[in-house]
């Protein structure tokens, strides 16, 4: 055994250094661990300042001792490579380990150990931890806003049906795959609108479900006898025609009593709120802002100077102002621009404002994709004799959109994160509801729980969206 130089750990005394270093490191971690979990201070006999710094010093010496290159022990080499490359990294690693150890117990106790879950009044919340009872009691308000309790099944039903209808794409066979784009761009939003309008809002029934159902059944039955060549056009036209025929020309009086859906109370949009409103707004803005943005991206790349300048003006205008002023505009300025007897609902105005705002960002993202495509693609499409629209729909846009999936996902994420701003016009989605609940005299002092709850929900939504976009990007990645 050679002489040990403690200032220079080397391989010849590997075992000594390894045991000594690990022991010191272990002691330092143990000290912090005991301190944070059991509030025991094993170095309490030392003066305050040294006692405070001791774990760091011990850990640092320990890590210094075990920093031996090419020791031959796999785990040790990995450790050295990842957290212990030099003195600076060793100190930072130690600090992070200590911070994590120190912050686990308070967080755990606030979230779970000292928190109160049971009961349904403020009295159970006496501990130092979180009062999840508050969330439990206010859950309906956070989810549905001021929507009447008895009617909330309408929101649930609509969302479940829309989710089912939205997942059609996964089950579609190859035969129907070509209609999916049409379905998602035109039909699905229309169905969603019908659901929102009739079910959630309980809008004036100018569409009678009874007629609609009869028309649908009849057209499906007749549809069996239609040659498959015309089936698509048939289903595009005939059900609506049948519906109008039924409603206005035949059986008018007889059918009106038969199964007309009544009992759906009108719930004005001011009462909507909570997380469901977040979903509704995000959904519609997402659907609207994409085509508008695409149109303006194409307009900005257009060869016609006037169209180009109008597009540039539109895009730069919306990108230059904060969303909050746009919402202000939709709330106080926009009604002035409309005829006096022409009323547009607050929620609809909001959706229009957010859609136009985000459309400008989508337009810039898509323009990036269009610019990134090589000129050869345009020239090849033109040399095949394609016109402007055919070239863009079949050659340019599919490639450009594929390129900008991350950018579009970021814009959509920003959209979801921007929805709380609708408090400006007096609509209360989940964050707005939290602020309302916070001021309730019976439940004062639970702001923290509410914000943590909303933060967790938003985090899950946004993180899931970003992961999904990443998967989408990988799926459509083609080598170029």
């Amino acid at each position: 055994m050679s002489k040990i130089n403690f200032l220079k750990p080397d391989k010849s005394n590997l075992n000594t250094f390894l045991y000594l270093g690990s022991f010191l490191f272990f002691i330092s971690v143990l000290d912090v661990l005991l301190n944070s979990f059991f509030s025991l201070n094993i170095t309490g006999f030392l003066p305050g300042f040294i006692s405070f710094l001791l774990p760091l010093i011990l850990g640092f010496i320990g890590l210094y001792f075990i920093r031996i290159e090419l020791s031959g022990i796999k785990q040790l080499d990995l450790l050295n490579k990842h957290i212990n490359t030099n003195n600076f990294n060793a100190i930072l690693s130690l600090l992070i380990i200590f911070i994590i150890l120190k912050s686990i117990p308070p967080i755990l106790s606030w979230f779970f150990v000292d928190a109160s879950f049971a009961g349904d009044s403020k009295d159970v919340c006496t501990g130092t931890g979180a009062c999840w009872t508050y969330i439990k009691v206010w859950m309906r308000r956070f989810m549905y806003g001021m929507y009447p309790n008895g009617e909330q099944w309408r929101i649930n039903l609509s969302f479940i049906s829309l989710a089912l209808l939205g997942s059609v794409g996964y089950f579609a066979t190859n035969k129907f795959k070509k209609y999916l784009t049409l379905y998602y761009v035109v039909i699905y939003p229309f169905i969603a609108f019908l659901f929102i309008f009739f079910f959630i809002s309980g809008g004036p029934v100018f569409f009678d479900f009874s007629y609609g159902i009869i028309a649908a059944i009849l057209s499906i039955i007749i549809g069996f006898f239609i040659p498959s060549k015309f089936k698509f056009y048939y289903f595009l036209i005939v059900p609506f025609a049948l519906y109008i025929l039924l409603k206005y020309f035949i059986f008018y009086e007889e059918l009106i009593e038969l199964g007309k859906l009544d009992g759906l109370n009108w719930v004005e949009t001011g009462a909507w709120g909570g997380l469901s409103l977040t979903f509704i707004i995000s959904f519609f803005c997402l659907i609207f802002c994409f085509p508008i943005g695409m149109a303006f991206a194409l307009g900005r790349r257009s060869g016609f100077p006037l169209i180009r300048y109008i597009s540039i003006g539109f895009i730069e205008f919306w990108r230059g102002v904060p969303l909050i002023t746009v919402l202000f505009m939709s709330a106080v300025m926009f009604p002035m621009f409309l005829p006096a007897d022409f009323f547009i609902d607050k929620l609809v105005r909001c959706i229009i404002a957010i859609s136009l705002f985000e459309a400008a960002y989508v337009a810039e993202v898509i323009r990036g994709g269009l610019q990134a495509l090589p000129r050869g693609q345009y020239e090849a499409a033109k040399s095949l004799g394609m016109g402007y629209w055919r070239m863009h729909i079949f050659v340019i846009l599919p490639q450009a959109l594929k390129l900008v999936i991350p950018g579009i996902a970021n814009t959509f994420l920003a959209l979801v994160k921007d929805t709380p701003l609708i408090f400006v016009v007096g609509l209360l989605e989940i964050v707005g509801m939290l602020n309302l609940a916070k001021t309730n005299p019976e439940w004062l002092g639970f702001a923290m729980e509410g914000y943590v709850f909303a933060a967790i929900i938003f985090w899950i939504i946004c993180y899931a969206m970003s992961k999904y976009s990443y998967n989408l990007e990988q799926k459509y990645k083609t080598d170029r």
Partner: protein, 383 residues
């Protein structure tokens, strides 16, 4: 002839549609304003505003004009934006570099920070800091002094104020130092290009910027003293600090959340920029005998900055626009003072909202023009 029609047709139709929509809106606006008896005009800007603002950088009270209220709001917006931009840049650069660290713990810690803060809506973060976190601070009478001179309380942060004498001499000395540094840099560059000599520019610069202002203290008659905030009793249970500078909690919450949120995006920009410099560049630089510091300074950073700066400026703009969320926690920024209180008092919706939007618009368009110019200047001219 036919060909030209094909060109003009779509343009004409678009223009007609735009003109129709705008015409429709203006016509309705005129009719509506006539019906309600509102007259259009910006004359109200010089009228007495008769409302007070909690926090303002310039002297202001109800007897001043609406235009001055607008200035107060604008200055407050600029103040919180500048604070936010400085903090966000510092934090963003640190986190961005930490994201690239070979140290597993640091790397993951930075990644956690980025993923955590950028997936939570900014408004929620502002509310959290303002209504939950800052409300847990002590009352003024219970606050412990930080470094003995400043107090962080529920009513805001109270820090000592600087009291300068002959401030202008000090400022001139700083200006002189900056000009001297620029001249030395130009000279050093010339020396490097013509004779290949290198002089330690950084050391000389640091020396100049320290020594010249110091000289102004010794010779120029500049003196600096501090006014420390002192606790004062207003009523039996109400205390406040007097003297010094007080930063309201709204400002703290806003600056904190804006910088924490924007720093995540800046961190990603920094990471992308440094990763965007090819490995070959570093290896080539090392192979011609540059030291690691020289590689970083002469090869990596110039190329990385070219990638980093445009998106980062975009983030600065976003931060400035996001500072309008101040209205939610009653920090008197442009939106709250002007588009909120002033609008409520005058009822001049179109004028006030248009001025507010125009202010933000001119701000962001001027910055993006600057950015375009910069991009053209630094763009690599490819073959």
């Amino acid at each position: 002839m036919n060909f030209k029609l094909k060109d003009i047709g779509p343009q004409l139709m678009t223009v007609i549609a735009v003109v129709l929509v705008f015409g429709f809106f203006t016509y309705n606006a005129q009719v509506n304003m006539e019906n309600r008896g509102i007259d259009f005009g910006y004359g109200f800007l010089s009228q007495e505003s008769s409302f007070d603002v909690q926090f303002s950088l310039i002297e202001y009270d109800g007897s001043h004009s609406y235009f001055r209220a607008y200035l107060v709001g604008l200055l407050n917006t600029i103040l919180v934006s500048v604070i936010g931009i400085i903090l966000a840049t510092i934090l963003g650069v640190i986190v961005g570099i930490a994201r690239l660290s070979p140290n597993y713990l640091i790397n993951k810690f930075a990644a956690f920070y980025v993923e955590f803060f950028r997936n939570i809506p900014l408004l929620l973060q502002i509310f959290f800091w303002y209504f939950a976190a800052l409300r847990a601070l002590p009352l003024p009478q219970d606050a412990e002094a930080m470094f003995g001179i400043s107090f962080l309380t529920i009513k805001g942060l109270f820090v000592p104020a600087f009291i300068w004498q002959n401030l202008n001499v000090f400022l001139y000395s700083v200006l002189a130092a900056i000009i001297a540094i620029i001249i030395i840099r130009i000279h050093a560059k010339k020396l490097q290009e013509t004779q290949g000599k290198q002089i330690p520019v950084l050391l000389i610069s640091i020396g100049l910027i320290l020594i010249l202002p110091l000289l102004s203290f010794l010779i120029g008659g500049v003196s600096l003293s501090f006014e420390v905030p002192v606790l004062k009793q207003l009523a039996t249970t109400s205390f406040i600090y007097e003297g010094g500078v007080s930063l309201p909690p709204e400002l703290i919450a806003l600056a904190l959340s804006l910088s924490l949120y924007t720093a995540t995006f800046i961190a990603e920009c920094v990471r992308a920029g440094i990763q965007g410099v090819g490995k070959g560049q570093k290896e080539a630089a090392a192979s011609i005998g540059l030291t690691p510091n020289q590689v970083l300074k002469l090869v990596v950073m110039p190329q990385a900055l070219r990638i980093i700066i445009p998106p980062t400026t975009n983030q600065y703009l976003n931060l400035t626009k996001n500072s309008s969320l101040a209205a939610a926690i009653a920090y008197p920024d442009l939106v709250l003072v002007f588009a909120g209180t002033a609008l409520m008092q005058t009822g001049k919706a179109i004028e006030i909202v248009s001025i507010t939007m125009f202010t933000y618009l001119s701000l962001s368009i001027s910055i993006s023009l600057l950015m375009n110019w910069y991009n053209r200047k630094i763009a690599i001219t490819e073959k």
